[in-house]
């Protein structure tokens, strides 16, 4: 299991938000997470990339117990997880290509080569590589965030409302990128309240849909 929750719970400053999470995310699986605004979708993803720690129960990510991880270990594990934030942030003073290459260059691991060009054209930003992030449209930012999330060949890709700012055509294109990555063996977890997106995906991959209701994470009904 790449992500394994056991009786996990989390919250902010004493108030419980999610509880009794029992969930296994298998390698190579495709998950959707849905639920009303404010139900805790973003918080759930934060658990998955260790920005939030479970207050109860256990959580194992890529085989390691998050409670036992040192700060450096967390950083190293994050380099195996690609995250697309709900409001994607960048280093506003660096051009787009440097921002997208950041997961590769930050720890001096490797320099981006031709992959970067491929990736940029794959997300349709080949012509914008020199632009500064504040000059990008909302949709361009979201695609740039996707490119940054996947450049390090992560095993897990977490996307928080990846289609929030973009039109339906662009949303489908983005979804296809994620499905393609899943076919290459990556585990994908998308938080969204866009049911049309989930339906569109279900026709192409065996996606599991989870729903947050009353602080519990449960499988959604088959008909959504």
């Amino acid at each position: 299991m790449v992500i394994a929750f056991q009786q996990a719970a989390c919250g902010y400053g004493g108030t419980m938000l999610l509880s009794q999470i029992d969930l296994d995310v298998a390698p190579g699986s495709f998950h959707f997470l849905t639920g009303p605004s404010g139900s805790g979708k973003t918080s759930f993803l934060k658990l998955c990339y260790m920005e939030l720690r479970p207050s109860h129960g256990s959580l194992r990510i890529l085989g390691e117990d998050v409670r036992a991880m040192s700060r450096d270990r967390v950083a190293a594990t994050r380099r195996r997880i690609g995250v697309i934030h709900q409001n994607c942030q960048f280093l506003d003073h660096l051009p787009l290509d440097a921002n997208i290459a950041l997961p590769l260059t930050i720890e001096g691991d490797s320099a981006p080569g031709a992959d970067l060009d491929d990736l940029l054209s794959w997300v349709g930003l080949g012509h914008r590589r020199g632009a500064l992030p504040p000059e990008l449209s909302g949709g361009e930012r979201q695609r740039a965030a996707l490119a940054r999330a996947v450049i390090g060949q992560p095993e897990i890709i977490l996307a928080d409302e990846p289609t929030g700012n973009i039109d339906w055509d662009m949303a489908r294109r983005l979804l296809h990128l994620l499905i393609e990555l899943n076919r290459m063996g990556r585990t994908v977890l998308i938080a969204t309240h866009d049911l049309a997106l989930i339906r569109a995906a279900k026709s192409e991959v065996a996606a599991r849909v989870l729903r947050i209701r009353g602080g519990q994470v449960q499988p959604a009904a088959a008909d959504l």
């Binding site: 990339y49 260790m50 920005e51 939030l52 720690r53 700060r71 450096d72 950083a75 190293a76 594990t77 994050r78 380099r79 997880i81 995250v83 934030h85 942030q89 960048f90 280093l91 506003d92 003073h93 660096l94 950041l102 997961p103 260059t105 930050i106 720890e107 001096g108 320099a111 940054r148 390090g152």
Partner: protein, 296 residues
Amino acid sequence: MRLPSLFRTERSPGSVVPPSGFTARLLVLTAAAMAFLAVFSLALALAAGRMAERWSQALSQTATVRIMAHQGEEAAATRAVLAILETTPGIAAARALTLKEQRALLEPWLGPGLAVESLPLPQLVEVTEAASGFDAEGLRLRLAAEVPGAVLDDHTRWRRPLAAAAGRLRAFGLLAVALITVALAALVTLAAQSALAANAQVIEVLRLVGARDVTIARAFTRRFTLRTLAGAGAGTALGMLGVWMVRTRAGEEVVLTGLGFEGAQWALALLIPPMAGVVAFWATRTAALASLRRIT
């Protein structure tokens, strides 16, 4: 952390933090001012140290007895004085100066070729004080009673407080250097903290892509260390130039113009920029790691 990584430029993590023109210039300027002050404090401490040493050395041998006697009675008076000194506790040795020695003492003042013999010169007796010291007042009374015209010049009495004052001046100089170091550390810490706060978004992005704390901290330490080094380098150069300009030629040195470095002491001043760099590195790193540990 390896120091050479500070100077890596290609794809250096320094560039992940946006430049901050005004604060940067302010830090460079302050580092320069502090290094300048440090050079002067150091020069003061070293000069005071030399002064204290010279006066302490002089202390051990500078009591003299001056004998003014009537013509023909000089030899007898000198013998009497030597006899008294021999029996005075606390005096290690006493020796009458020869005429040649006395002439050598006067030459700097009256010029060579002077017929010293024709002058009514007092006979000088050099008194070497033992470590225990002697009772100057008692000796003075005894001399006055037994050899009229013999006067004790006890230089130690006015040199000792001067030597002590010079020693305190040196301590002040060193204290000033220490305070400047502490102030620099505090200042760099404040500057680093404001930079960390201003770059909260940058830090969040870096953590998201899996940067370790030391990597993020390095982006800041590198920048602050280099700026402090640059500022301190300029300030030290200016300070050394200033000290060099108030220097004196050998032998001219008195209390005020004695400010300066001698020989290897110049190298000591050259240690100021690297020391400032080390202080800045340490202060920034501590501030950065502490503030990073506060976020999950």
